[in-house]
């Protein structure tokens, strides 16, 4: 124990010379910083370690309302950032999230307490997609009366209509939205922005703030001859029609153009509708495909053919019916701004594929006709609505915009992040505060410096791609086994952040505070540097002082103080180090 604290101390000491902080930054683990919604990943993973599955879901819900949806279809930037990559493989964060969310619902529906309406200012949200619903959820938690307006017959936006059922079941979306409704959000469907309601009409009805999150509702066009033929259905229209149960004739041969997730979704959906041969045409190679790796593998397993380095030139028709698609071969050139290598057409390389149906899936475009002119900007590069990148406020006061309409087509979790930011900005706007002041600054941290010394390699938990088909007796066993595996996987987390703020031990975290013995303190700065909450300052004598409000009682300073000048209210000396290590997620090197 002595040795360990010494190594930690020497690490702090080496930092001391260069890194005396002037302003307070929160130290967060890399996974949490990578997540646009700042979901407390380390917190819920450490709760799973303790077997507290229910608390883990509740912790996720503090940051965002869609644990089950993100557990299924999130891009999981947290896993890309996970520090465990240096050791073996990233922690299976998305799979863990799905497991805790599913296990909670396996026991029946979850009903939260409705939030009391403590504020009088009404807020209108346009678009019931992930951004709009998250903003509504966060504002309802703050006590605002929130109304969401949705054009389609059911809320959910792209999650409901444009992600096929085999990736994200409709009941999952319906259930998560039912939760948001139970919290106290009102959702009005079949109301179209620009027709039934406008910004003026909403203002006249007494809405004090408006959040526009209408998303990108049109498929991007290929701009090749023959695109308007009947045998060409753009991807969003195709997926929406299938989701609504409208009859779609796919014929025998289908070509999907594009390399994103929606291209793969469309290909697999077409295969499910009875197409014999489905191929995906992509102008770069497999390495540049933006689709998720396991989705590509699943598509290959279903027998979908991939053709790389081809780009459509024109659609060839026979009396108005699509007969074939003519393509050009490509080769890869220099990397472009997105870091992927730019495809360059090879001249005179035209060739044809015989197809019955063509589904272009190359991107999304906004539907600007419904948006009021004062919000739009012709010159904008990404989305049509220019906003302040931090506060999401548009040029019209009291109107905010976020989600895909601002960033261009992005992921669900980015939309959730935008929704959260919009909720913060709207709250500040309605309270009359400065929108930009005091935004939290964060700093990435991990306690592991010497990866060689950590020889604890373990295999990552690979979640089953399909739902298991079992009998009732086997299911009980399987559930137990899944729980065991999830706990095991959670223990792979290194606990990079100092304190995960999971608040698992409410009594401990809430009440305990550090106390500094002024006679012993030598002003060495260790506690000042090491404190994860920035709770320690120095007074005019150079002696450390604890800010009672900021201190979370993690005990790290007490464990590391070389003079043993810091003690805790409740913890005894013997417990302090173990508590400090427990607070950091249980990730001790031994």
């Amino acid at each position: 124990m002595e040795e360990k604290s010494n190594t930690l101390y020497s690490r702090a000491g080496s930092k001391m010379a260069t890194n005396i902080r002037t302003n307070v930054k929160r130290k967060l683990p890399p996974c949490r910083i990578a997540c646009p919604a700042r979901v407390n990943v380390q917190g819920y993973v450490s709760l799973i370690q303790k077997g507290k599955f229910k608390e883990a879901v509740e912790l996720i819900r503090r940051d965002m309302p869609f644990p089950a949806i993100c557990g299924r279809v999130c891009f999981s930037p947290c896993e890309d950032a996970c520090a465990r990559v240096n050791l073996d493989q990233a922690v299976a964060i998305r799979a863990l999230k799905r497991i805790v969310a599913d296990i909670e619902r396996e026991k029946g529906r979850v009903k939260p307490q409705p939030m009391p309406k403590t504020r009088t200012e009404k807020v209108a949200i346009v678009g019931a997609g992930p951004a709009g619903l998250t903003a509504a959820y966060e504002l309802a938690k703050l006590g605002y009366p929130v109304t969401v307006f949705e054009r389609m017959s059911e809320p959910g936006g792209m999650m409901r209509y444009c992600i096929p059922d085999f990736r994200l079941e409709n009941f999952v979306v319906a259930n998560e939205i039912a939760y948001i409704k139970d919290v106290g959000v009102e959702i009005e469907t079949e109301i179209e922005f620009g027709k039934d309601i406008t910004i003026e009409s909403l203002r006249n009805e007494g809405y004090k703030a408006i959040f526009v999150a209408v998303g990108m509702q049109l498929s991007r066009r290929m701009n090749v001859p023959g695109e308007d033929l009947e045998g060409v259905i753009h991807v969003l229209e195709f997926l929406r029609a299938v989701s609504l149960g409208q009859p779609v004739e796919v014929g025998e041969k289908v070509a999907v153009i594009g390399g994103g997730n929606s291209a793969i979704d469309a290909a697999r959906t077409a295969k499910g509708l009875g197409a014999k041969e489905v191929m995906i045409l992509y102008r770069r190679t497999r390495n540049e495909m933006p689709a998720l790796r396991h989705e590509i593998e699943a598509a290959e397993k279903e027998g979908i053919i991939f053709r790389f380095l081809v780009s459509p030139k024109q659609v060839i028709s026979d009396n108005g019916d699509v007969r074939a698609i003519e393509c050009l071969r490509m080769r890869l050139g220099e990397p472009d701004t997105s870091g992927r290598r730019r495809p360059i057409p090879i001249s005179f390389s035209e060739h044809q594929y015989e197809v019955d149906l063509i589904i272009p899936a190359i991107g999304q475009d906004p539907e600007t006709s419904c948006l009021p002119a004062e919000l739009l900007d012709e010159k904008a590069t990404r989305g049509p609505i220019p906003v302040d990148q931090i506060t999401l406020e548009t040029r019209v006061r009291g109107v905010f915009a976020g989600g895909d309409i601002v960033t261009g087509p992005a992921s669900i979790i980015q939309a959730v992040g935008a929704g959260k930011q919009a909720a913060i900005s709207i709250h500040r706007y309605l309270c009359g505060q400065d929108l930009k002041a005091g935004l939290e600054e964060v700093e990435e941290t991990t306690w592991v410096k010497d990866w060689e010394s950590l020889r604890r390699k373990s295999r990552r938990y690979e979640a089953p791609i399909e739902k298991p088909r079992l009998s009732f007796e086997e299911a009980a066993e399987f559930l137990k086994e899944t729980k065991r595996k999830a706990t095991f996987e959670a223990f792979r987390c290194l606990g990079c952040g100092p304190c995960s703020e999971c608040l698992a031990e409410m009594d401990l975290c809430e009440r305990d505070r550090a106390i500094v013995d002024e006679n012993k303190c030598t002003g060495c700065n260790t506690c000042f540097i090491i404190c994860p909450c920035g709770a320690i300052a120095k007074n005019e004598n150079g002696v450390a002082q604890v800010d009672e409000e900021l201190c979370k009682g993690c005990g790290i300073c007490a464990a590391l103080c070389p003079e043993r000048a810091i003690t805790m209210h409740r913890l005894t000396d013997a417990n302090i180090l173990s508590c400090a290590l427990a607070a950091s997620g249980g990730g001790s090197p031994s």
């Binding site: 089950a68 599913d102 029946g108 079941e169 999952v172 739902k467 009998s471 559930l479």
Partner: protein
């Protein structure tokens, strides 16, 4: 005088029941009687305004149903179809039920082969047909309220109705099914086996 009247009514009733049995609506007089008692009880309780949860306690008369080892029950409806649902034991494993898929109308199903799937958040469970025949009805209420299966597995939570192919095979297939007593034995055996593990 009154005594004579009762006797004549009783004789008429017996004749009616015999007709119904010959038509295949009931298998025996006792089945008719238990069905009649059930209907009468249901009506009485509805009149007295007993809430659904309490009614279930009295109403569940699983005695007259037939079961398969795969936890589906079968009941003969007045139209001569076989109504299929999930047993109480199965329902207890389906607390988080989210969706019920069944084959489309007119589809042939075979005895002890899956005719649909009950989907929960984590699992898929195959639903096994108790007899062979054609699917003629699906409980549309389940589309939006699959939790009906939990609330009322024997009445409101029925899943499909099957029209049997012919009466001869139907009789044999019904004979092969389990009575409640046999089924309960089977369930306790299953649960006992789980405990040993």
């Amino acid at each position: 005088m009154s005594e004579w009247k009762t006797v004549s009514i009783r004789q008429k009733l017996i004749q009616e029941i015999e007709k119904a049995i010959q038509a295949g609506r009931y298998r025996s007089i006792s089945e008719f009687v238990s069905e009649a008692i059930r209907l009468r009880l249901e009506e009485l309780m509805r009149m007295e305004g007993i809430p659904v949860e309490k009614r279930k306690k009295y109403l569940a008369v699983p005695e007259q149903l037939l079961y398969t080892p795969k936890h589906t029950w079968a009941q003969i409806t007045p139209e001569g179809n076989i109504r299929v649902g999930l047993s109480d034991y199965a329902q207890r494993h389906l607390e988080g039920i989210a969706y019920i898929y069944a084959e489309s109308f007119g589809k042939e199903v075979k005895k002890m082969e899956p005719f649909g799937v009950a989907e929960t958040w984590m699992f898929m469970f195959d639903l096994y047909a108790p007899i062979s025949g054609k699917i003629v009805k699906f409980n549309e209420n389940l589309r939006n309220q699959p939790h009906l299966i939990n609330e009322d597995p024997y009445n409101g939570g029925w899943i499909i109705e099957i029209k049997p192919n012919n009466s001869l095979t139907l009789e044999q297939e019904l004979k092969d099914m389990l009575s409640l007593r046999q089924y309960n034995k089977w369930v306790s055996k299953l649960e006992g086996r789980l405990k040993v593990k």
